[in-house]
């Protein structure tokens, strides 16, 4: 278990970087607004960043171990289908997670 000093330093690091990213751009607003490259990256990056993060959370899955891969694939399919259908983030996230928990603790219980 990580110790308190390390945890506080980690929190301080994350806070400093996050707040810096949120506050500093207001100070350099003018050049950012007129420059086309940040505008292009700002428009093109979000979708890809979220896709990469979603894949990252599934990095430990091995198709050779169906007991873990199959529930994740089914829950992912449910989440995508539910979100395309209803566009309700709460429903999609809670529904997908509930399905995953149900599958992991019943049919695919180790």
């Amino acid at each position: 278990m990580p110790d308190t000093g390390y945890l506080l330093a980690a929190v301080a690091t994350a806070v400093a970087v996050t707040w810096g990213l949120r506050a500093l751009p207001f100070a350099v607003l003018a050049p950012l607004r007129s420059s086309p490259l940040p505008a292009y990256l700002g428009a093109a990056m979000p979708v890809g960043v979220m896709v990469i993060l979603a894949v990252y959370t599934l990095r430990d899955l091995d198709p050779g171990v169906p007991g873990r891969a199959v529930p994740a694939a089914l829950a992912l399919a449910f989440t995508v289908a539910a979100h395309l259908w209803r566009r309700d983030a709460v429903l999609s996230i809670l529904g997908g997670t509930a399905l995953h928990v149900a599958l992991c603790s019943t049919v695919f219980a180790p």
Binding site: M1, P2, Y6, L7, A9, A10, V11, T13, A14, V15, A16, V17, T18, W19, L21, R22, A23, P25, F26, L29, L32, P38, Y40, L41, G42, A44, M45, P46, V47, G48, V49, M50, V51, I52, L53, A54, V55, Y56, T57, R59, P71, A72, A75, L76, T79, V80, H83, A89, V90, S92, I93, L94, G96, T97, H100, V101, L103, C104, S105, A109
Partner: protein, 231 residues
């Protein structure tokens, strides 16, 4: 001058729809903290101070693995870099005073931005914007604290709960993808990101996130350069 009572009700109304999403997500985060073995109040510290939903889920995994502070800084930078662009349209100029601006930027979460930069908030004054932000902040931190407390009471470890993080990013990806009109959606960009993530997973599994982001950024820049070269 708005009375306290009216101000609170206004804040509740302005932030209500966002609260529907923020409270359950905060609770899911709190339950994960409780199940990680950390004391419940770390959920309040993480969600109240870092206050960046998607980063917190990654942050929890990183600190449990005792990741170096440099890794945490780089991850926070990459995950939250999108906030840089919020400065272009968040109405901070309406918020008065140094303290107000400090809190206004500190609590500039995705949800707060989405409401404050929306068309309905065009007439909101500075105080109303700050109240709205405080409510969203409270939903998230309150939800996380409640989740952590409930998580410690629930005796058995819930298998498969970590899927909430995958579902969150999947939903955010779909929302970001569908924001523009159908003809302008960036299908190639989304596929490119998936390929970059898989390539990073196979080639550099220890530094997957960093490698994937670097690869994806390079690919976007290359695509732009090639697009420009074309007549």
């Amino acid at each position: 001058m708005v009375t306290l009572r009216r101000g609170l009700r206004q804040g509740l109304e302005d932030s209500g729809p966002v609260g529907l999403g923020a409270v359950p997500m905060g609770m899911a985060f709190g339950v994960l903290v409780a199940h990680s073995g950390l004391a419940w109040w770390w959920a309040s510290v993480f969600s109240g101070l870092i206050y960046a939903g998607s980063l917190e889920f990654l942050f929890l995994g990183l600190v449990l693995a005792s990741a170096p502070l440099g890794t945490i800084a780089v991850t926070a930078f990459l995950v939250n870099f999108r906030h840089v662009f919020y400065a272009l349209s968040f109405p901070l100029h309406r918020v008065r005073g140094r303290l107000g601006k400090v809190y206004g930027t500190f609590a500039l979460s995705d949800e707060a931005y989405a409401v404050a930069a929306g068309t309905r908030a065009a007439s909101f004054g500075g105080r109303r914007i700050l109240r709205l932000q405080a409510f969203v902040h409270l939903y998230w931190a309150g939800g996380a604290t409640a989740g952590a407390l409930l998580g410690t009471v629930v005796p058995a470890r819930v298998a498969g709960l970590d899927f909430a993080v995958t579902a969150l990013f999947t939903v955010l990806a779909l929302d970001a993808f569908r924001a523009p009109e159908p003809g302008r959606r960036d299908v190639a960009g989304a596929v490119l990101a998936g390929v970059c993530a898989l390539a990073a997973r196979l080639v550099l599994p220890g530094q997957m996130l960093l490698a994937a982001f670097a690869l994806f950024t390079a690919a976007l820049l290359a695509r732009r350069a090639l697009g420009r070269a074309r007549p």
